[in-house]
Amino acid sequence: MIDIETLFFVVVARGKANAILKKAQECGAAGGTIFLGEGTAPSKLLDTLGLTEVQKEILMISSTNELSDKLHEVAKAEFSFTKRNKGIAFTIPFQQRKLKPGIQEEISVPDDTDIPDISPYSCIVTIVDKGRSKACINAAKAAGANGGTIIHGRGAGIPTDFYFPLVIEPQKDIVMIITAKEKTSQIRERIFSELEIDKTGNGIVFTLPVSRATGLFENTNEESKEVLA
């Protein structure tokens, strides 16, 4: 069983993911998956003008701990993630499951104790019906989050209906918010209550641990809300 311990995420402007992936492969990454998302508006003024969408690409690379550390350094050095709005990178501890063909191996479930508790960040993931992501971001911002990344997806497995054999696929928005650990529970509570997650079908909120993050900036003043993701 090959143990790959983390998933390394990068959020950058559209079109830049390929360059980073290439670089990551030079550093030894096996490969990556890229998907499209949207960031949130960096300022109130732009929000008023309706310029709320910032198109992003999210790159996901499975890597070992050492590799992801190296990738963080590369992101800092070569893609200037230390500057605002250049992009962010974060690592979430994931265990890749691989079975040797034919052998049913027992695998241990990772739990909280496996995760080195050093990072000051965590990642809140909210999955809601399409169109409610804005409300989610607003709730999160009200509770102190800086921004989020929205990814469009679809729910799975819905029965066929209608005159045409038409499968209506429920479209979902996935909102990822990276935030300081101490703010996590307050943001999550806020999303939970404002979006009424406790009612059936209204969505789901969960938190993933983040072992390392690069390119995050805390708000200093209200007017210049910084895009985090």
Binding site: F94, Q96, L99, I168, Q171, T207
Partner: protein, 612 residues
């Protein structure tokens, strides 16, 4: 200002080559008066601003409106309502298209008044409406586009036997006139919305093709008019050409009428949307204000863009055409090729189509590749149009009929998604830039050559531009199919879902795991059904692209060196931690998913708060 900056940068990148080439021509071989030149420069700046604002407005308004409308159409359940609604959509947006009215009056005067412009506008709009309705049924019924278009163009070819050469040109031109700056993005949004609502395996390829179907409606309508009325020949004179004097006079002079045109084009859609919003959608205030802002940007951007094109680019095109034609046919053909190559990329709808392709395929089909193919196609089309002007023996149908015939034949052997993109590209390429700048260039050239007829040769240029990209992109699709490793979507066997009783529904305190699964495209449903059998519940699927792990499996398009990245699906599952192990194990012991789906599974612990 991230996004506005990005849009502006994108528009600049496409506009700059046109700007530079025209200026080079002006300073070398073409002698242009100063005020025309200054107007061209001012026009370019206006075009840059206008197009950027317009594209932004389309993003904010046309896309959501299209999506809502599509949802309304698709979920109305009754085929009669679907037919009426989609007919109405097609009819309304076409009847308001300013280009179509221009074409109508041209035909009216060319036919000596026997056909009124109004009749033509209504006939074409009805044609488009009917075809859009059929196109919507095609999409919902999953009829392959290649077959649908083969039948449609089969009908067109039969009509073509009965109409004169002039009307053949007018008919194909009308397809360009109906696919204007506003209608094309809207129809693109409708078809994207429909295919999203419908979902399923073919949702990707279903996102395209409706614009192509719409163009065919216009062609059929005009041919019908000709057959029914028995009108064969057109005659008439094109007014003597005089470039406008001054710089700001001509620009500001046309703003009111252009604004009115843009408003008229935007109005039917907006009214229809508000009627539906009032009765059906009831969109929330916040979202509504974004859409309203978007509509405003669209109107403003469109006005700026059309003003710039009409006042700054048309005279310039004409003068270049006249002067080049009097020099040497070879220079005319070569410059025509170059202009076609670059001008098409400034078309607003080309930007919109590019974005849509990126969105739908998650970057799997490189837009760069589509753009290059598009420009090559249009470049050749313009060059051939110039040949047609220089050599009177070369007729339009020499190109149009075999071109479409070849495209239809190849469409059966091409990747389905490219067939849709190709037919759309025809309508997309023949937008306002072609209808003004390129057309003026061609008419200028025709007026300088004795054997050419400005009227007859002028018509037909748009037809060529509408045909060439269809063929070139279908050829690309054919190449793609060769190059691409064929991923056959698995047939999902129906299995009874057994949810293990150990699943405790209400236990929120239980530790949950987040499972992220990455597979090749088409396998997501299989993953979900396997995971369900193992006890998982909801899943969310995202669409992305990945890398080929082995160097030798990478697919590279030669010469341009663009890599084709395989499409992937990412599935997020939230399960109880006890179930997650069995879910992961089940997924990883599924041989089909391992061998064909190239599955990888990641598990992380999480704290989950709400369940779907």
């Amino acid at each position: 200002m991230n996004l506005i900056r990005e849009k502006t940068r994108e528009v600049t990148r496409t506009l700059l080559p046109v700007f530079i080439i025209v200026l080079i021509l002006c300073f070398t071989i073409v002698d242009v008066e100063t005020d025309v030149m200054v107007r061209f420069i001012v026009g370019s700046v206006m075009l840059l601003a206008g197009l950027s604002i317009f594209l932004w407005g389309v993003d904010l308004s046309m896309n959501p409106i299209g999506e809502y409308m599509a949802q309304e159409v698709a979920t109305s359940r009754s085929p009669i309502i679907i037919a009426i609604l989609s007919f109405l959509l097609g009819f309304l947006i076409t009847v308001a298209e300013p280009d179509l009215l221009v074409l109508g009056s041209q035909i009216e005067s060319a036919s000596g008044g026997t056909m009124s412009a109004q009749l033509i506008v209504y006939m074409v709009s009805i044609g488009v409406g009917v075809l859009i309705a059929l196109g919507v049924f095609r999409l919902l019924k999953d009829v392959p586009l290649s077959i649908f278009m083969a039948i449609t163009y089969g009908i067109i070819f039969i009509f073509a036997l009965f109409v004169s050469e002039e009307f053949l040109a007018i008919a194909f031109d009308s397809s360009g006139a109906t696919t204007g700056a506003l209608t094309t993005p809207f129809i693109l949004a409708i078809s994207l919305g429909l295919s999203r609502v419908k979902g399923g395996k073919k949702s990707e390829e279903n996102s395209f093709g409706l614009v192509g179907i719409m163009s065919a409606g216009a062609i059929i309508a005009v041919m019908l008019i000709s057959v029914i009325s028995g009108q064969k020949n057109i005659h008439g004179d094109v007014a003597e050409f005089l470039p406008a004097k001054g710089v700001f006079g001509p620009i500001f002079g046309i703003i009111p009428s252009v604004f009115f045109e843009s408003l008229m084009a935007l109005l039917p859609l907006t009214v229809l949307f508000f009627v539906f919003n009032f009765t059906k959608f009831k969109i929330k205030k916040g979202e509504m204000s974004v859409i309203l802002k978007g509509l405003l940007y669209t109107l403003l951007g469109l006005t700026l863009f059309l003003t710039a094109v009409n006042s700054g680019f048309m005279d310039m095109g004409r003068i270049i055409g006249i002067q080049l034609a009097s020099m040497s046919p070879w220079i005319l053909i070569i410059i025509g090729f170059i202009l076609g190559l670059i001008v098409v990329l400034v078309e607003p709808a080309v930007h919109v189509l590019g974005e849509q392709i990126e969105e739908v395929t998650a970057g799997h089909i490189p837009i760069k590749l589509i753009r290059m193919t598009l420009s090559l196609g249009v470049g050749i089309a313009i060059a051939l149009s110039m040949v047609r002007i220089v050599v009177p023996e070369v007729k339009l149908w020499y190109f149009i009929i075999p071109g479409f015939a070849l495209a239809i034949l190849l469409s059966f052997k091409s990747e389905p998604i490219f067939v849709g993109i190709a037919y759309d590209a025809g309508g997309v390429a023949s937008g306002p830039m072609t209808a003004t700048f390129i057309l003026a260039f061609a008419q200028g050239a025709a007026s300088a050559i004795d054997t050419a007829d400005v009227l007859v040769d002028g018509f037909g240029v748009i037809a060529m531009v509408a045909m060439a990209p269809v063929l070139s992109i279908i050829i690309l699709g054919r190449v793609f199919e060769h190059k691409h490793k064929k991923v056959q979507s698995p047939v999902i066997e129906e299995e009874t879902v057994v949810i293990s009783p150990s699943l405790d529904d209400k236990d929120y305190d239980e530790q949950h795991n987040c499972i992220v699964v990455v597979v090749n495209r088409g396998f997501a449903e299989e993953v979900v059904s396997v995971a369900r059998n193992a006890g998982a519940r909801g899943a969310t699927i995202m669409h992305g692209r990945g890398t080929e792990e082995k160097e030798e499996e990478k697919v590279l398009i030669p010469v341009v060196n663009i890599e084709l990245q395989p499409e992937k699906e990412i599935i997020w599952l939230i399960t109880g931690s006890r179930i997650s192990v069995s879910v992961a194990n089940r997924l990883l012991s599924h041989t089909k998913l391992i061998e064909e789906g190239e599955i990888s599974v990641f598990v992380s612990s999480t704290e989950s708060m709400g369940q779907e």
